[in-house]
């Protein structure tokens, strides 16, 4: 079965800010060609490494972000490399990059120039703040963008520093928005023949994921620890932690606790949503959390989770990565997918599909490429040979 984006060719010039975008497209079936400089993609030097041994072909970071892609080495700093790139552009539907503003323009590969020669191309740039503006060139990275975008502010205990979103979430949010809009642009181009420039701001992507009651209420949410004003909290069980609802199917929930000898003091407590103000609401929720805490402390976390769900309560065990890896639901769904690395004689399980398109399934169609693994193959393609020949004869 082919992927949904079969036939869609993308030239991949992303760095860490956008490399997940092109993975999303590649795993959906797009023909993603990652362009690497002769010395290799710098992302190959990112830890962690397989067995902890530094090796540009064994960066687990690189592996995760480059499934299903091909690799072509081109020296964009040289005239010849740029010529070859230009020929490749003629065969491509999209170019996706995430370098600092002005970097590609400095190589004659900026969006204005490229779109003039290739008006049907979709050119997508992912940058910290967008292409222009008073701080477009400010230095930034994931934690900085998580902070500026408003997501970091609401996480963490009140008596500790705010917590950034885990891993490279700001890059993932921006990459997903970039993928969505690139495909939307492709749909538009099919109707009209017109390409376009897509300017993705990572800060804005983070802000698009933020929580915006401020715009209505004039009160900016701040971090409140793990007790959430929408009636969720975390309780400690005998052997772990569990996320618990504090006002969902409450009558049923309370009856259950009462049947086990807990919750007497919560009988008659009004719903937190009926409290007159935020401090009262918080106090109400804290009271519930206290009681649930005492109750949970008598149970194993797996028991509380399972029994909670059996009572149709939105309980969730706080899972570690290890728990996740062995999780029966993910296993039953075949979430992890085997990817063979013939160069190592090993097969590893990779995280799988975020969505199941039944007719054109997500798939890892290639293991992450070795540096320049497909240079010859790509440059020998008929379309490329035709372009190369026409350049020579000019």
């Amino acid at each position: 079965m082919t992927g949904a984006l079969n036939g869609f060719r993308v030239l991949d010039l992303t760095n860490e800010r956008g490399v997940y975008c092109t993975k999303v497209l590649a795993d959906l079936g797009a023909d993603v060609i990652r362009i690497e400089p002769p010395e290799g993609d710098p992302l190959r030097n990112y830890p962690p490494f397989r067995k902890g041994e530094i090796d540009p072909d064994q960066s687990v970071y690189f592996w995760h972000h480059n499934t299903s892609k091909r690799s072509v080495v081109l020296d964009l700093a040289s005239r010849h490399g740029r010529d070859q790139f230009s020929q490749l552009l003629g065969t491509a539907d999209a170019l996706i990059e995430s370098h600092d503003v002005g970097t590609l323009a400095g190589l004659g590969l900026g969006h204005e120039e490229v779109l003039e020669t290739h008006p049907a191309l979709i050119y997508t740039s992912i940058t910290p703040f967008g292409q222009a503006g008073p701080r477009a060139k400010d230095p930034a990275n994931n934690i900085v963008l998580s902070a500026l975008g408003g997501v970091m502010n609401v996480n963490g205990a009140v008596d500790a520093p705010p917590l950034a979103a885990f891993e490279d979430q700001s890059y993932l949010a921006a990459s997903n928005y970039a993928a969505a809009t690139t495909i939307a642009a492709l749909l538009y181009r099919r109707r009209t023949g017109t390409g376009q420039f897509i300017d993705v701001s990572i800060e804005a992507a983070v802000a698009a994921f933020a929580h915006w009651p401020y715009l209505q209420s004039g009160v900016a949410p701040m971090r409140t620890g793990s007790l959430n004003l929408n009636a969720f909290g975390i309780v400690r069980c005998l052997d772990g932690y569990c996320a618990v609802s504090l006002n969902h199917n409450w009558d049923k929930h309370l009856s259950w606790m009462l049947s086990e000898g807990f919750g007497e003091e919560l009988v008659g407590l009004r719903p937190p949503t009926e409290e007159p103000n935020v401090p009262a609401r918080r106090a109400n929720l804290e009271k519930r959390l206290d009681v649930l805490g005492a109750w949970a402390a008598t149970k194993a976390v797996d028991t509380l989770f399972r029994e909670g769900q059996a009572h149709r309560l939105t309980f969730g065990k706080i899972m570690s990565v290890d728990d996740l890896f062995q999780n029966p639901q993910l296993r039953a769904r075949g979430f992890m997918v085997p990817v063979h690395h013939p160069e190592l004689g090993e097969t590893y399980e990779y995280p799988g599909a975020p969505y199941r398109l039944t007719r054109t399934p997500w798939a890892v169609t290639r293991r992450p490429p070795l540096r320049g693994e497909h240079t010859e193959e790509v440059l020998a393609e008929p379309a490329m040979r035709a372009r190369a020949n026409s350049e020579v004869s000019r």
Partner: protein, 404 residues
Amino acid sequence: MKPGALEGIRVLDFTWVLAGPYCTRILADLGADVIKVQSMTTSNGYDARGGGRTNSLNRNKRSLRLNMRKQEGRDIAGRLAQHCDVVIDNFSARVMKSWGLGYEEIAAIKPDIISISMSGFGHDGPWKDYVSYGLTLQALSGVTHLMSYPHAPPQGFGYSYADYGGGLTAAIAVLAALHHRNETGEGQFIDVSQYEAMTALTGMSLLQRSVNGDSFEPKGNLLQARPCGPYGAYRCKDDNSGALTLPDRWLAIGVTNDQQWEAFVSALGGPAWASDPRFANQELRYENASALDAYVGSWTRGLDCYEAMRVLTSAGVPAGVVQNTADLVHKDDQIDHFGFWWFDDDLPTPSKRLDGFPVQMSQTPAKLARLGPDMGQDDEDVLSSLLGFTSEEVERLRELEIVW
């Protein structure tokens, strides 16, 4: 006025609460005609409430009331589906099928339909009937555990991040399916498990576990696998104006290479502690993060957070204030310049603005075409233009509580 990228695409939207409506919001923002099906007979999450929240989540959509408990309501929905490119829900597996709106039923009449169902855990597996909200999914996907300080109780996101991530993920799936349909004429069913969508965002941790048998453990704000420092949140001067419910202000600093470290030390005026052998390289700065953080914090503590940010960024050091949403509105000239805000004087809120779209598309810009509709605002428009109902017929359907 420039067109939307998805003009001509129509979505029949049965989603509710947050993840589903966030998905259809993206499609609507990109120009699709999203018909949001609501009913007086259900709470429909908080979608039914008017005012600002509806405007943020449901802008650019149309609202049609249909009482799905009545056969006639379901019949109308079935007929409407034939005029749509996409049908989307986030119910559990049985609901749409019980309404005659399962994929097979619609595809029998409209073979190229794209039907997408965003359930909590997917339509099979031991947890398929489990119930979830965003915070449940966070916990179960490893996120809450990873977003914690070491040797402290777990934290996680302070809000329902999984809903946003899940919504955007589902939108990508819909768009990809539309592309396939354009190329081949084939529709399909898409099964989105919000749990898997969230887990995909922790993919890096899973691959590390898979390849090296090693599970990441919480490290607060420190990077998991790339030794460097200073990297974290540092407390600045408090804001005692009373405007905030928590007065503490923080600056995020992310020094990830030696060049940035040199620039950082220089920007601070070359303090003596910077030459401490414990901070001599990236690995050491990471190992001795607590000690380093204490020194850095002593610098930031005396400064206004924006001032500290400017000192560092003008020296080439990545730094950014931990902004709250009021800051983003009032103090962020850059996001303003980018055009993130959508302004409309008819918004019933003091700010007169909405959180817009984080991408600028040169030919097909996302835009605010209309505010979030009141429930049933478009009953007549939808039913007359797509199914040829007269206004009298629509009124009768209202009286019969079918358009209800």
